[in-house]
Amino acid sequence: SQTIHQWPATLVQPVGSPLSLECTVEGTSNPNLYWYRQAAGRGLQLLFYSVGIGQISSEVPQNLSASRPQDRQFILSSKKLLLSDSGFYLCAWNGMGHTEAFFGQGTRLTVV
């Protein structure tokens, strides 16, 4: 069966520090991969999605970037964090043809 792993679960980082969040999927090939951010009490905002290795689409101009170095690995990064980058980050995947999507456990990031 397919599983999605996302880590770390919580993270506290100072302003100006770098960020790297990792997401991996097991049990499937060539998944569509997604990064979302959820501010406190708000909905989910799509940040990046990828349909293949090295193929990244950005939805919102921001201080973040994404990379897909391997088929089942999706990384969210920042060179210098801002206070406004705080939030709950969720990784998701679905299959070709836009089948059901599944989410990781999420990373709660606090920038101080």
């Binding site: 569509n32 997604y34 979302y36 959820q38 708000r42 909905g43 989910l44 799509l46 999605y49 349909v51 689409s57 939805e59 709950f88 969720l90 998701a92 679905n94 043809g97 836009h98 089948t99 059901e100 999507a101 599944f102 989410f103 456990q105 999420g106 709660r108």
Partner: protein, 109 residues
């Protein structure tokens, strides 16, 4: 791009009551999902329902794709049903999954 609207934004009910949550979308879509976000933030898959009707215990969902809406029904509500319910949809030409703003459901004992 596609717009997804959910109503009502907030719903407070007594335990045992029934509820209907609505999701409207602005364009033709080829997938539609309902999620429940628990207090720890985890998104729980409820239904994958591009069209038709599905039922799972006290929950059921109906999507009428031609009229661009989906409904989630919760019967005999329990306090554990509390949380935020999201619908999400997308279409293959854009490879995106877009979320509605959610319905916050509070079930009081």
């Amino acid at each position: 791009g596609i717009q997804v609207e959910q109503s009502p934004p907030d719903l407070i009910l007594q335990e045992g009551a029934n509820s209907t949550l609505r999701c409207n979308f602005s364009d033709s879509v080829n997938n539609l999902q309902w999620f429940h976000q628990n207090p720890w933030g985890q998104l729980i898959n409820l239904f994958y329902i591009p069209s038709g009707t599905k039922q799972n215990g006290r929950l059921s969902a109906t999507t009428v794709a031609t009229e661009r809406y989906s409904l989630l029904y919760i019967s005999s509500s329990q306090t554990t049903d509390s949380g935020v319910y999201f619908c999400a949809t997308g279409y293959s030409s854009a490879s995106k999954i877009i979320f509605g703003s959610g319905t916050r459901l509070s079930i009081r004992p």
